[in-house]
Structure formats: C-alpha cells, structure tokens
C-alpha cells in the first residue's frame, strides 16, 4: 500500500530585478524573474507502508527542500506530494516551546502547533509524560530543564501519536544513549505497525543499518534510487571522483568529516592503499563484521634508503586508535631499498570491528617511530565503513565474541503446592535431556521441555504453578507416578496401544509414543479446551497422527449422550459416555498395553465395566489415579478401586493413597496377566497426611 506518492515534484526559487515586480506578480502581472534556481527538480518516488527510506546527498543537493515540500511547509512549483494520512516530521526538536511554560503546558502548546486537538492531547498526555521520563520536572517550567530533558520531552511529544509517515532529520543524536535507544525502539515499533520512515542523514552507516531503500539526490535530481549498499557505494564513488581532481592538496576534510593529512620528507611514498576481501580479492568500501580482509599497501622509495619501516594505524570515527603496528615490531624491516624499488605489503586480518566508519593511516619511516626519519605519514589515507549484516546488534568498536546463556524460570505461583510436589525427588534418578524443565521460545510460542525432550505448551497444564514444578523437577510433574510409569515402559512391547482416559494434556500418551517404537494411543477427554491442549502438545512433537483424540465421558455404562460440567466451559457438556466395551471397540480388537485412567472420580465406575476385558487379556497394565472425596464423592474410592481390581484377579504392583501423594491423587498400578505378576517396580516415597494436598481428612 502506498502511503506517500511524490510525482514530478519541483521547486523553483526566483529572484526579481526588483521586489515591486515580485509583488506585482502576485496580482497577475506577467513578470520575468531575473534569476531562478531549482533546488528540487522533477522528483518522483512512492513509499509503501512500513518502508524505511534513506535520503542522502551532499549539502545543497535538495534534501531539506524535498522534506519541506513533503511536509507541506513549502509549496511545490510543479508536481505534487500526496500523503495518505498523518505526516509527522522531526526536523528540529523543541520547536514552538515556550520556556516559561511547564512541560505539560508546552506539550499542549506545541502539540496544538502540530495540529493535534486539545481533546486528543489530553488523551495522549499520560503517554507523553511516561515516555519522556522526566519525573516531576514535567510540571516545572521548561527553562529549568537540561537540554537532554528538553529533547526527551520534545521527542515524546513529536511521536505521541503514530503517523503514517515519519520524517527524521538527524536529530536522534541528542540525549543520552539510553534515550536514543528508546527513541529508535519507538521508531522501529512505528515501522512495524506500518509507519513509513524517511531518514535524512549524513551517516552512511545509519542509512545502511536502518533503511531498506535509499535515494541519492544531486542538484535536485534523483541520481539513484535502490537498495542501500548499491546507492551508498555509488555515492562514495561519486565523492571519490570529485575529490581526485584536487589530490595535490595536502590537507583536506572529507565529506564525512575525516581529515586527510600528508606529511614527511617524501623520500618514499605510498603508491596504493586498498582494502580487499580475502575471499574475492576485490576492493571493498564497506566491510562486514567478521569478514576476512586484506589491507594492501604498496610503497615506493624515491631515493636510496638504508631502512624502510611500514606502519599502519587503524582509527575509529572519533580518532581513537583501535590498533596499530609496524614492520619494525614484526621484525620485517626492508633494508637497503634502492630508489624506485617497490615494497608491497598485504596485511590480512579479520574485521572484528563494530559497525561504523574507520580509517587506515599508513606511515613510512626508518625506525619504529616516525620521529627518527619520517618519509611519509598519511592520516586517514583509506576510509571504510563496517556494517553489521549477520550478527546480533551490538554497540562499540570491537566485535567481542560474547554469548548470552539465558534461562527462564517460571513465576512462583502456588508456592505451597509447588513445594510439596518438588519435595519428592523420586524422579531425580531418571535420565534427562540437558535442557529439561527449561522454557524456550519457539514458533509455537512458549514451550517447556520435559525430561525426555518432549515439548509441551508452557503453562498449558494447570498454569504457572505446574510450570514451576516441571522446572524444579527438571521435566517431571508427578514424581511418584512418573517413577513407576518410567519403570513400566521397560516392559512394554513395540507397536502396542496406549489408552489414556482423562487426557488433559496427553502427556503420558506422548511419553509412551516416544518410548515405544511403532506404538499408537487413544486419548479420551470430555473438556474441549483440555482436548485442544492435548492436540497442541501432540502436534508440537509431531505425534498428531499416532494419537486418536476422542471427546467423551467415561463411566460404568455406555450411553450415547451424557451431560456433566466441563471445567473450562463451566456448564454441562453433552457427550458420549464410554465404558470399557466402547474403548475395546475403539481399539478394534487390539489389546491395551497400558490403560491409564485419570477420570476425576469416574475411575471406580469404569473399573467395574472392565471385568470382561481383563478376563480376556485385553488390558495388560493398568495405571489408575484415585481421587479425593472432594472430587469422587466417596471417602473410600481408593480402597474400593483396589478391591475391584483384586476382584477381577488383578495384581497390585504398586499403590499409594491420596494422603500419601506428593501431587494430589492416589495411585494404583496393576497387572492382569499371570506372566507379568513377577514384575517389581521401584520403591516410591510416601507423603504424610498432614503435608498432603488435602490435609488430614478423617
């Protein structure tokens, strides 16, 4: 979408032989101007939403006039600039401020000048105050402000409302670096929200890093319009060509502010100094951080010299020496150099510099300092830019190889419950992936890594406190049950079937699928949100096609429709009621390797429907979570379940009460095949009733 279209925009400044002629011209008289000047001539371009355009060119190229034409302070002589929306120009911070007004009054005053209504300003005022961060000074007169505070206020006001087009004219070099960053962040966020940026600057580094397109203006014309590196290199070449004409000058200041100075006896001189890419051997004007480079210096003696030492010095934009050495220190002195002889040196190095502008100064001397015999010393003979193309943003002139190691720890919600669960260390002995329990950011959002490397939606199962438990236990959430489940998996056969009844987040199914090759799973869950969570977790690990998700209730007798309250919905949900026969149908005759039941109190009823299945060997292992009276409605649920299993000739391998749980629910692990009766499971630790989740219930 185009937000700014400039078509054939031209501006003419005229002078008349006398001002009377000028005045007469306003009233229709045909007057020929004595001279005319076109600072902007036939400029056309358009800017899409969110595009960042750099405007470069030498002083007098027409940049300022073009900006004024776009913002509307100057009227075009020909052509037009059409802006689709609000345009905001930060050409100078603090315009229109009154020193006697407070910050707040000035925000209203200058905001009015910018065309914002008082009602809108009243709305925006808290944001302006917030962003400026000048504290109580906001209600003090402006004359008491430091220049930095003024800049903060001005910037906060200028960007209080997101414009469609934002024009920035090299003003962001004011204020401390903290605020500069904050300002750039705001500009970036505007851009992300669709604001187009026009940046006018002399800093070619900024242009490269901030813009995705550059226009080079020269004498009011668009000389080049294209990607930053192309246009900037073209611009550099243009300047070099202009400057070559006057190389005889021994001292001159370049466009970017570099001062070139040449001094010495001139008994030797540097014929050529070039920066090459190690890979291509092509000259580079802009190097990348980390790029391998070669500095080629070719020196020639003009008279016979006893010794020739070549030195080079690398300086940053502010003139600080970044690095420097010479062939005296490296013990590579050229001795007895004859007149006309050429000494060429290739200095190879890796560009471990920060983004910015740098210079090389070569020196030809007879000893280690130029104080002895200085043949030639050229300050800033070679200027080049460094840009950061592929490394993470960093400040400064040195690219230090630094790495952040970030760990995210969940918030400390549900402290007591977390403490209770993590006090059980049963799962510590289970092997874990290195980042087990940590929270990572992936394309799917925040995910938490379980002990076996499975990814689950962080906080997806019961929220923050569970996230914390999983973090503390390094990828486990129910230490007792997981310890025995882990042991049970060792006996499970490839290609077998896992059934999870009450599959909130389908974690046990995923674990089974990961541990047992070729296995499949059926997950039954009545709550639509929980079912969705299970699906997401399955998708996260690529198991979606190995699990069959079935919405439904479980209980003693199958029914086509059963109504009960689903937690996340908060009202009754009518779904099919499944008993063991229905599950066997879903399994299509296959035996269930592990039947995992966590059915919020429905466990006893379902167990009662299993008699046929257990007698015919359709269930191998049974893992049941038994629930507290407050959930199941019966204080004897656990004991009743144990009794029911024994009645069906099951053997209890391991069990613990609700009161012995470190998580919440009781546990029964049982087998029905005589061949499995000899299995011994590891000892689990047991909680005491006093410290268990529901306390002493008797």
């Amino acid at each position: 979408m185009t937000v700014l279209s400039v078509s054939h925009l031209s501006k003419r400044y005229v002078n008349y032989a006398s001002n009377l002629e000028r005045f007469a011209g306003w009233f229709g008289a045909v007057v020929k101007p004595s001279e005319e000047f076109w600072p902007v001539k036939d400029v056309s371009f358009s800017l899409a939403a969110g595009e960042a355009l750099g405007l470069i060119g030498q002083n007098g190229a027409g940049k300022s006039t073009l900006l004024k034409l776009i913002t509307g302070t100057v009227r075009p002589t020909e052509g037009m600039a059409h802006v689709g929306g609000r345009i905001s120009a930060i050409l100078e911070l603090g315009l229109g401020f009154n020193p006697e007004f407070t910050g707040r009054q000035n925000a209203f005053h200058a905001g009015g000048l910018m065309g914002l209504s008082q009602a809108r300003l009243t709305e925006l005022m808290p944001h302006i105050e917030d962003f400026a961060e000048i504290g109580e000074f906001f209600d003090h007169p402006l004359r008491t402000y430091s220049s930095g505070m003024q800049a903060r206020l001005a910037f906060a006001l200028a960007t209080a409302e997101r414009p469609e087009v934002l024009i920035v004219d090299e003003v962001l070099s004011v204020g401390d670096s903290y605020f500069q960053h904050k300002s750039f962040d705001r500009i970036r966020s505007f851009r992300a929200a669709g604001t187009s940026i026009i940046l006018v600057t002399h800093s070619l580094g900024d242009v490269r890093t901030l813009c995705d397109r550059v226009i080079l203006l020269d004498k009011g014309h668009v000389l080049k319009d294209g990607p930053p590196d192309e246009v900037v290199d073209y611009y550099n070449a243009l300047i070099a060509a202009k400057e070559n004409a006057k190389l005889s000058v021994e001292q001159r200041r370049s466009k970017e502010g570099w001062l070139y100075t040449r001094s010495g006896t001139f008994e030797a001189h540097v014929k050529e100094i070039t920066l090459l890419s190690e890979a291509t051997r092509e000259p580079v004007a802009t190097a990348m951080v980390g790029q391998d480079l070669i500095l080629r210096v070719i020196a020639q003696a003009d008279v016979d010299l006893p010794r020739l030492v070549l030195g080079i010095m690398l300086r940053d934009r502010t003139g600080h020496v970044v690095w420097g050495t010479n062939t005296w220190h490296t013990k590579q002195i050229a001795e007895d150099v004859k007149a006309g002889e050429v000494v060429a040196a290739d200095v190879s190095f890796r560009c471990l510099l920060g983004p910015g502008s740098y210079s090389f100064s070569p020196a030809l001397t007879s000893m280690d300092t130029h104080l002895d015999q200085n043949y030639e010393w050229s300050d800033n003979a070679l200027v080049f830019d460094v840009m950061n193309a592929d490394r993470a943003f960093f400040l400064g002139t040195t690219a230090i190889e630094a790495k952040f190691d970030i760990q995210r720890r969940p918030a400390s919600a549900g402290v007591d419950r977390v403490k209770m669960t993590i006090s059980c260390r049963d799962t510590d002995a289970i092997d874990k992936v290195p980042n087990a329990g940590s929270i990572e950011h992936s394309d799917e959002g925040r995910v938490q890594i379980m002990h076996n490397g499975l990814k689950v939606v962080a906080g997806g199962y019961h929220g923050e406190w569970m996230e914390r438990i999983i973090y503390e236990l390094r990828g486990h959430h129910e230490p007792q049950e997981e310890l025995v489940f882990h042991a049970l998996l060792a006996y499970c056969r490839p290609g077998s079937l896992f059934v999870e009844l009450g599959a909130f987040w389908s974690y046990y199914s995923l674990w089974f699928l990961r541990a047992i090759p070729g296995s499949t799973a059926i997950c039954v869950e009545p709550d639509p949100k929980n079912l969705e969570m299970g699906r997401r977790n399955a998708a996260l690990n690529g198991y979606a096609d190995r699990i069959q998700f079935v919405p439904g209730w479980v209980g003693e007798t199958a029914a086509s429709s059963h109504e009960a309250v689903a937690e996340s919905v908060g009202k009754p949900v009518a779904l099919e009621m499944l008993d063991m026969t229905s599950i066997a149908d879903l399994a299509g005759g296959r035996a269930v390797e592990i039947l995992h039941i966590d059915a919020q109190g429905a466990e006893l009823g379902f167990l009662r429907s299993m008699a046929t299945a257990t007698q015919t060997g359709k269930v191998r292992f049974l893992v049941v979570s038994t629930h507290h009276v407050s959930i199941s409605g019966s204080p004897t649920t656990h004991a009743d379940c144990v009794a029911e299993i024994v009645r069906q000739n099951g053997k209890i391998l391991c069990e613990h009460h609700v009161e012995e749980s470190f998580s919440g629910d009781g546990l029964i692990v049982a087998v029905f095949n005589s061949g499995d009766c000899g299995i011994t499971l590891p000892q689990i630790s047991r909680n005491t009733a006093e410290s268990s989740l529901f306390g002493v219930s008797r």
Binding site: N19, G72, L91, F108
Partner: protein
C-alpha cells in the same frame, strides 16, 4: 482559511498566554508594571510639559486634565504601534517554526493582535486606577471606547501584515517604519492638544487617520464628549480596506514567503 484558524484556536490562546507570561513572570513586581509604566510616563511628561500646556486644554477645568489627556492618547497609540510593529517583524522572528512546521501562518499576526488587545485592556484598567487616584471619573461616553479599540486594531493589523510581508522581502521596511512611526507619533495630537498647532499645519492632523481615534479616546476618557460620527468614517474605511487588502496580500505572498525566509 477561517476553519483552519478555528482548529488552531487553542494554540493561539496558549501563545497569547505565553506572551503575557513571558513579559512579567520573572520580574519581582509582576503585573504592577502595567500601572507603573504609564504612571511614570505621565509623571515625566506632566512635569516637563503640563506647566506649559495645561492652560491650553479647552473645555475642562480638572486640575489633572493634562496627565489624563496624555495617558488617554498614549493608550490609543500604544495599541496601534504595538500591533503594527510586532506584526511587521513576527514572520521573521518565527521563521524557524514556519519553515519546519506546517500550520496556518495567519495564526502569527492574530497572536500578536490578541496579545496587544489583552495588554490594552489591562492598560485601561491600570489607567482607571490612576484616574481614580487623580480624582477623575470618566463619564458615559466611555461606552464608545470599544469602537476606538476595534478601529485601531483593524488599522494596525492591516498595515502591520502588509508591511510584515513586505519586510520579509525587503528588510529595510521595518527600519524605515521605526522612523516613520516616531514622526507619526508627533504628528498625532497625543502629547499636545490640536489647537496648539498653527492653523496651516492642522491639515496634517486632519489627514492623519489616527487623529480621530486618539480624539475618541480623549473624548471618552477625559472630556466626556460624543465624537462626531463623520470623523470616524475615514478610519473605519481605512480599517476595513487595510484588513481586506492585508489578507489578500498575505495569501498571494504566502507561497513565496517561506522561500525567502
């Protein structure tokens, strides 16, 4: 044009407040200077001139007649010269803002006019305090004073904007006008009554469009006389004409104004 000015009314009002604030906020006596300035001027002129001129003031027997005459005329002149001189330079003073922010430029002379009008009201209040102190109460002709204020403001605004626009292109205009205004001041019966001039020079006073307006002030504040309606025709015509021409002139000049600033 008027709609966009209306949109900027808050800016105009807050600019006027800022102007007034800037004048007094950091002086110790603050608003008291409103009274002290004219009072000091009246005292000085009275001491120097009243002995010479008091006898010539006709139609009054008030002992403080001369200071009151002087202050009334000066109030009228102050309004005129403040609007005129400040409108003349406002575009140059505000050039940085005009060049970088797009807003209706006509706001600027309006702010000047608004500030001057408020100053005038404050000055008149101060004068009343002084008059009471001198034992003089203006009569019911006072109700005509607003007509004087409006006409003076109109002429000042009109001429000020025209000259202000010209001054952007020819900077000598303001310089010349400082001299012209001084001459104009002395060619207006403010310090002296009209009848002190020899008959042959009276024609100049009669051609001066400000003379009837100054006279209106003096009539309203001192003599308690109704001015002759005919005397106001010329100033009213000039006010209307200069205002209209100023706005047309300003709009024609507007595109080139920024170019030369």
């Amino acid at each position: 044009m008027f709609r966009s000015l209306w949109r900027y009314r808050h800016f105009i009002i807050s600019s006027i407040r800022g102007d007034l604030k800037g004048r007094f906020v950091r002086s110790r006596l603050g608003g008291l200077w409103f009274i002290l300035h004219p009072l000091a001027q009246a005292v000085i002129f009275s001491i120097v001139l009243s002995e010479v001129l008091n006898a010539r003031l006709p139609d009054t027997d008030s002992p403080a007649a001369y200071p009151i005459y002087l202050l009334s005329g000066m109030a009228a002149w102050t309004l005129f010269s403040e609007i005129l001189t400040r409108s003349m330079t406002v575009f140059i003073e505000q050039a940085p803002v005009m060049k970088k922010i797009a807003f209706p430029r006509l706001c600027l002379p309006i702010i000047v006019g608004g500030t001057a009008l408020i100053n005038q009201v404050l000055l008149l209040v101060a004068l009343f305090v002084i008059f009471i102190f001198l034992g003089h109460m203006p009569g019911r002709t006072l109700i005509l004073l607003p007509i004087g204020i409006i006409l003076i403001a109109a002429i000042g605004f009109g001429l000020g904007v025209i000259l202000g626009v010209m001054n952007v292109f020819i900077r000598d205009v303001a310089q010349v006008m400082t001299i012209v205004l001084q001459l104009w001041y002395w060619l207006t019966p403010i310090v002296y009554p009209a009848n002190v001039l020899p008959e042959k020079y009276r024609i100049i006073l009669n051609l001066n469009p400000i003379t009837p307006l100054v006279a209106l002030y003096q009539d309203a504040l001192l003599f308690n006389r109704w001015p002759s309606p005919e005397s106001l025709i010329a100033p009213a015509a000039l006010g209307l004409l200069s205002m209209t021409f100023a706005i047309v002139f300003f709009r024609r000049a507007s595109p080139e104004l920024i170019d030369v600033l």
